[in-house]
Symmetry: C2
Subunit: 121 residues, 2 copies
Amino acid sequence: MSKDTSLDACEAPCLHLDRVDQVRAGMLTDEAAEGLAEIFGLLGDRTRVRILHALSLGELCVCDISAVLGTTSSAVSHQLRLLRTAKLVKARKEGKNVYYTLDDEHVRQLFAQGLEHVQER
Amino acid sequence: MSKDTSLDACEAPCLHLDRVDQVRAGMLTDEAAEGLAEIFGLLGDRTRVRILHALSLGELCVCDISAVLGTTSSAVSHQLRLLRTAKLVKARKEGKNVYYTLDDEHVRQLFAQGLEHVQER
DNA sequence: CAAACAAGTGAGCAACTATTCATATGAGTA
DNA sequence: TACTCATATGAATAGTTGCTCACTTGTTTG
């Protein structure tokens, strides 16, 4: 049964209806696609990649991170907020400083996987 | 010895010079960071995620893909060009149609890893 | 050859994003 | 209390990006 495949009923100019239906059945849900795009998008920025990689080497405060990257602490802080919101990093306050660490083991693995891809070309 | 850590020599208002130097030593090269950001950035879009996932289920032509996603074939074609340039997908021409397949096993693994992250929250 | 269709592409536009700058908050310190 | 410094944040700006629309290319078919 299943419900109507809407689009292809009225306008089927091309082909492979069987394949299309089959793929549709195994397709990602919207939320899954959105979630994937979100996490990958977060990793898809040079600055954030460097921040995350730096944190993978150990705990650092904002000021350390900006020193490592050679950018302003404001820029770093903005990016850290995104990473914090997405639960990729964790903050710990101590006196005037805020220390950040990775908060997601997946990130480490994604990094390793991604590096393999990059190096192998 | 090592060379001067440039920035912090003149302006070292904050702290943890030891840690900063240590992290700098283990830091990603610029190319590696750029490469990682590039691949993750490509995966960081809802449309491309869906295209790649569809292709992970089997070979499809442009027209099939746009039917699956419910978008124009032009939009799909534009995205496919990016994916082709980055060697993430491979094209095979047959008559009027062009059939695409995944061209990178890493992508499949990254997807799996990413999905784990997404589902686990 | 002409018509039809799949796919690719450039220009233009709207939406998004990363940085900078100015400022705010809040903790340590004189 | 007043000052300094680390961090956070809002607004503005410059750059990027994804889509649409119009058009081109190239292939099949009448």
